[in-house]
Structures are given as structure tokens and as C-alpha cells.
């Protein structure tokens, strides 16, 4: 069928872009490491590439992909083009979960506790949103509930880190609320990647239900879609994917907000067809942003979360204005 072929072409194009960016990501940084110049294991640049650049690239791709996918899923579920794990406070709830393990010194017990708490926090965030905002069923209510949740969770992160016996409190707060991909190791990849993959799989399976929700909740139920099952899948999927992402990078906002808008027109606005391209485009977006951040001159590297916010906030504003215009 025609739409399927068009989607495959789009996915292939995004994949090519992603591969190109991946090569650039391995090469680019403070230390320029052209691939053909790399010697064997003795070359110090080899260490930079294998221990830093490759894990960082994999994380950027995985985190960007799950954020884009989560954004597309949440926008489909809420029928609200402004939904995003960052805007709705789901990521902040994940960060709060992670920070609580630091506050209670649980992270020492097992390296798995921090990501587990982050995932639980993110899943709880989705559940709270559904409980508070779903009965009203209005997109605006959902967004307001998200803003409140985001504020509370961010305040909780700041409070926990300020009260924690931690001399670097202020820099820690920044790194949790404005995420970064710098200096991540293979261990971080191993810790987070499996959960992100499983979470992404759960989210991809919500496609038919998201399509049916185009007709509203009653319309979807009349088509045999179980809303409760869909909500559970989104809570688990977003919880696993975004929770694991936040656990290793902190909160990176706006990827999930922007990405679906970049590809929505190309897939005929159909929520299910939006999922895979949003994941690929999200990976491209975050990877590109991370490469730029690495190349910005200055003593300290800019957090990629800060860069995304600088890019995302104006985008959000433009979106709001165009929405108001289309409603008027």
C-alpha cells in the first residue's frame, strides 16, 4: 500500500541522517578524531572514542528516540499537540525518583536502584496525570495538571539535593533538571538501554489505540479499544523509557514536544504512523544538539538540556500562537 511505502521511505531517510550524525558524533568534540587517523588500541584517541564518544552517541540516540516516541504517544493519547514528557512533568517525576535514592543514600546499595526509582517516578507521573486530568477529558486540564506536576517535582528535586549532605548541591540540581550526555560510560548504557528498548516496544504497540482515540474516548471505546489497557501501556512504556533515560541523563525537555511536529504532516497526521518516525527524528535531533553542544567554545560544556530548552521554548510559543489562531 502507498502509505506504508511512503513511511518506509521516510524511515529510511531518517536512518541515513542518523547514521551520518552518528559518524560525526564519534569524530567531533574537543579532540578531533578522524576515523582514518585512528591507530590501534595504543592510540589515546582510541580510548576517547570507545570509552566516551561511542557510549555518548548510543545514549544520545536511545534517549532522543524514546523522548520523541514518548512525545508522539502522549500527544496521540491526549489529542494535544503540546504534550511531552518534559512539559507534563513525567521526566521531572523520574528525576525526583532518582534524586530520592541519592538523598537516602540508596544508590550505594545497588546501581540498579537509581534507575528503578526513576522509572517508578516517571510511571507514577503518568498515572497521576491520568487520574487528575482524564475524568474531565479536556486537553487543557491535562496540560495544566502536567505543569503543576512539573513544578512540584522540580521543586522536590531542588529541595532533596539542597538538604542532602552534598557539597555540589547546586551543580547536581542543574544536571538533574537540565540534563546532559557528557561523560557517560558504557555502564550507563548497560543500565538504561534494556529498559528503554522494552519501554519503546510497549509504546509502539499502542498505535492502533491511538488511532482510534482520534474519535475521542467514547469513539475509541465504541471501536472496542480498552482505555484502561491503553493507559496502563502508556504508564508502563513511558515510565520504563523516560525513567531510564532520565536516570542516566537527567531531564532533557522539548525533544518529545518538537519531534512529532516535524514529521506529523509527512505521515498524514495519523498517530500510529507517527510513532516510528518520531523515534528516529528524536534520535537525530538530540544527537545533533549534543554534537553542537560539544563544539561550543567555552570553559565548561553547555548542558544539552539547556540547549534543548533554548530551542524548545520559542518553538512551544510559536505552537501556542498557531493553535490559538486555528481555534479562533
Amino acid at each position: 500500500m502507498r502509505p506504508v511505502r511512503a513511511d518506509l521511505a521516510l524511515d529510511a531517510a531518517l536512518l541515513v541522517l542518523l547514521l551520518t550524525l552518528s559518524v560525526a558524533s564519534v569524530v567531533a568534540g574537543r579532540v578531533w578524531t578522524p576515523l582514518d587517523a585512528l591507530g590501534g588500541a595504543g592510540d589515546p584517541r582510541w580510548l576517547i572514542v570507545t570509552q566516551l564518544r561511542i557510549p555518548r552517541t548510543i545514549l544520545a540516540i536511545a534517549v532522543g528516540a524514546v523522548l520523541g516516541l514518548a512525545g508522539a504517544t502522549l500527544q496521540g493519547y491526549t489529542r494535544n499537540p503540546l504534550a511531552d514528557p518534559g512539559v507534563l512533568g513525567v521526566s521531572s517525576m523520574g528525576a525526583l525518583g532518582a534524586v530520592l535514592t541519592i538523598f537516602f543514600s540508596l544508590a550505594v546499595a545497588s546501581p540498579w536502584l537509581l534507575p528503578l526509582f526513576a522509572m517508578a517516578g516517571a510511571a507514577l507521573g503518568v498515572v497521576l496525570l491520568v487520574l487528575v486530568a482524564a475524568p474531565a477529558g479536556e486537553a487543557v486540564g491535562f496540560l495544566l495538571a502536567g505543569v503543576i506536576l512539573n513544578t512540584l517535582a522540580s521543586a522536590g528535586v531542588a529541595l532533596a539535593l539542597s538538604l542532602a549532605p552534598n557539597p555540589w548541591a547546586s551543580s547536581e540540581i542543574t544536571s538533574w533538571l537540565m540534563g546532559s550526555l557528557a561523560d557517560r560510560s558504557v555502564l550507563d548504557v548497560r543500565l538504561a538501554l534494556p529498559f528503554m528498548v522494552v519501554g519503546a516496544g510497549v509504546l509502539l504497540a499502542t498505535g492502533p489505540a491511538l488511532d482510534a482515540l482520534t474519535l475521542g474516548e467514547t469513539g475509541a471505546r465504541a471501536l472496542g479499544v480498552s482505555l484502561r489497557r491503553t493507559q496502563a501501556m502508556i504508564a508502563v512504556g513511558v515510565g520504563l523509557a523516560c525513567g531510564a533515560a532520565v536516570a542516566v541523563t537527567g531531564v532533557i525537555g522539548f525533544v518529545g514536544l518538537i519531534t512529532p511536529h516535524l514529521v506529523r504532516r509527512l505521515v498524514g497526521n495519523q498517530p500510529s504512523r507517527l510513532l516510528a518516525p518520531s523515534a528516529l527524528a528524536g534520535a537525530c535531533l538530540l544527537l545533533a544538539a549534543d554534537i553542537l553542544v560539544r563544539l561550543t567554545p567555552g570553559a565548561n560544556e553547555v548542558h544539552v538540556g539547556v540547549a534543548m530548552a533554548a530551542l524548545g521554548a520559542p518553538f512551544f510559543l510559536v505552537l501556542l500562537i498557531s493553535m490559538r489562531r486555528s481555534l479562533a
Binding site: R79, D211, A212, G216, T218, G219, A222, L223, G224, S226
Partner: protein, 272 residues
């Protein structure tokens, strides 16, 4: 297609027994018993707040009554898996929501949701969607953005979406509201044709003259009860209309069939 054909058999039925629904302490439906037949258009009429939408929601299996039961071909509808129920009952909500700017073809294909596997396509997909587009004369619009259609085209797209699921029953909550006269006639005639194909059509309506024109049978609901049930002109004599709506009205013979001549508000005296 098989579902629609099976419904032509004598066994197909949609029945409500002793339905009671309370909302916020108020009784909305109180002991409603009805039986619907395939191949027939039934109009549910009644004053605002009489419980028409609630009744349709119960019949569609989307709302659980506090007491009583809806049965589909003899089986309690609450016991059916939701996908099975969705394959047999098409439902058009009163306020249709269309969240994204889908093209008409994609929109109509949503009606196949309950027929599709988790990943695979349903082999009957293309045929059913094309059939629904043809039946509603929407083929020429299949690439148009469904959110920019005019009211009449939109009503047809909504009906096409329901028909794409090849349901044995089509339940529509005020499908003609907001349409101008010619589009009301088009949509009404379309629903009649659908019923003649073996589908049982049950819809709520406001306009009694129009109900008389479109429906084989009119069910009048007032205060949560069935007040009258039958062909419009016979089932709704002036006394019943006065009781249900508080208006003085009588049926007159028009060239197109019975028309309701509304004289005014009922005088407030004793019921005629």
C-alpha cells in the same frame, strides 16, 4: 460482510430488559424494556434530558445500567469481549470528535479497528472501506481532510466510518443534528438504505416529523420510561405528545407522509 449477512437471519436481536440508570441521584432510565429488529429503522425521541443518549449508550454496551440488561442475539452485552461487541455494533456519538486532520479514507478505515489483528492487516479491509465510501457517496472525497468537510459531507464520513466496520447494528445519537434540510434528508435516506441492507438502525432524533419520515418505528422516552412505541402517527396521539412535551400538537396528512402540526404550548389543564 458475514456479520451483516448473518444479521438477516431470524435470530438477530438487540433487546433491553428493565434498564435503570441513576446519575447523580436522579433516575435517568427507569425500567426500559425494548426489542429491536434487524432491517428496521427505529427512532428514539423524547424531550431534552429524557434519557435518549443514556439509552443508546446502554444499547451500545458503552454504559453499564444500574439494573437490567442489554442482550445482543440473546447474550448479555456486558459478557462480550469489547472487540467482539465493536465488530457487531457501530456507534455514532452525539458530539463526534475528530482530533487529527486525517484524510477521509484513513478516517473511514478507523472503523476497521476491531477487525484488525495486533500487527496484521485485515484482508477484508480494503473492500469494506471502499464499500462504505461508495454507499455514502464519499469516494470522491477520500483524499480530502476530514476536518475541513462541510456539515453534510462530514455526517456522511461519520456514517461511512461506522459502516466500514460492517456492523449488524448501527446506533446513532442524533446523527442529523446541525444539518440543513437537504442534508438531513440525504443522511436519513442513507440510514434507511443501510437498514434495508439488513442492518438494524437505532437513532435518537428531535424532529418528530422527520422521525415519522425516516423511521419504521418511533420510541418515545419521557422521564426515563417508554411512553409510546410504534409508527409515529399511531403511537403518538395528541394526548401522549401533550404528556411528554407539554405541547398541543396533532398529526396531519402531508404529501410526504404524516406531519406534526404544532399548535402551541399545552394549556396547563388536565391531560387530554
Amino acid at each position: 460482510m458475514s456479520t451483516a449477512l448473518n444479521s438477516k437471519g431470524s435470530g438477530a436481536s438487540l433487546t433491553a430488559e428493565g434498564l435503570a440508570v441513576r446519575l447523580g441521584g436522579r433516575s435517568v432510565l427507569d425500567g426500559v424494556g425494548l426489542a429491536f429488529r434487524p432491517g428496521e429503522v427505529s427512532a428514539i425521541v423524547g424531550p431534552n434530558g429524557a434519557g435518549k443518549s443514556t439509552l443508546l449508550g446502554c444499547l451500545a454496551g458503552l454504559r453499564r445500567p444500574d439494573a437490567g440488561e442489554v442482550r445482543l442475539d440473546g447474550a448479555p452485552i456486558a459478557s462480550l469481549p469489547s472487540r467482539e461487541r465493536a465488530r457487531r455494533i457501530g456507534y455514532l456519538p452525539q458530539v463526534p470528535e475528530i482530533a487529527w486532520r486525517l484524510d477521509v479514507h484513513t478516517f473511514v478505515r478507523l472503523g476497521r479497528t476491531a477487525h484488525r489483528g495486533v500487527f496484521g492487516e485485515d484482508p477484508g479491509d480494503a473492500e469494506a472501506v471502499n464499500g462504505a465510501l461508495e454507499a455514502t457517496q464519499m469516494m470522491a472525497f477520500s483524499h480530502r481532510d476530514v476536518t475541513t468537510l462541510s456539515g453534510g459531507e462530514r455526517a456522511r464520513a461519520l456514517i461511512a466510518r461506522a459502516l466500514a466496520g460492517e456492523p449488524a447494528w448501527l446506533l446513532a445519537d442524533e446523527p442529523l443534528t446541525g444539518l440543513d434540510l437537504s442534508h438531513q434528508i440525504d443522511a436519513g435516506d442513507l440510514l434507511r438504505r443501510v437498514s434495508r441492507g439488513g442492518v438494524g438502525v437505532v437513532m435518537s432524533l428531535h424532529d418528530l416529523s422527520f422521525a415519522a419520515r425516516v423511521a419504521d418505528r418511533v420510541v418515545l422516552i419521557a422521564d426515563g420510561r417508554v411512553l409510546a412505541d410504534g409508527p409515529a402517527a399511531q403511537a403518538l396521539p395528541p394526548s401522549i405528545l401533550a404528556r411528554a412535551y407539554g405541547v398541543d400538537a396533532r398529526w396531519v396528512d402531508g404529501e410526504s407522509g404524516p406531519l406534526l402540526d404544532v399548535l402551541g404550548r399545552h394549556g396547563g389543564g388536565p391531560h387530554v
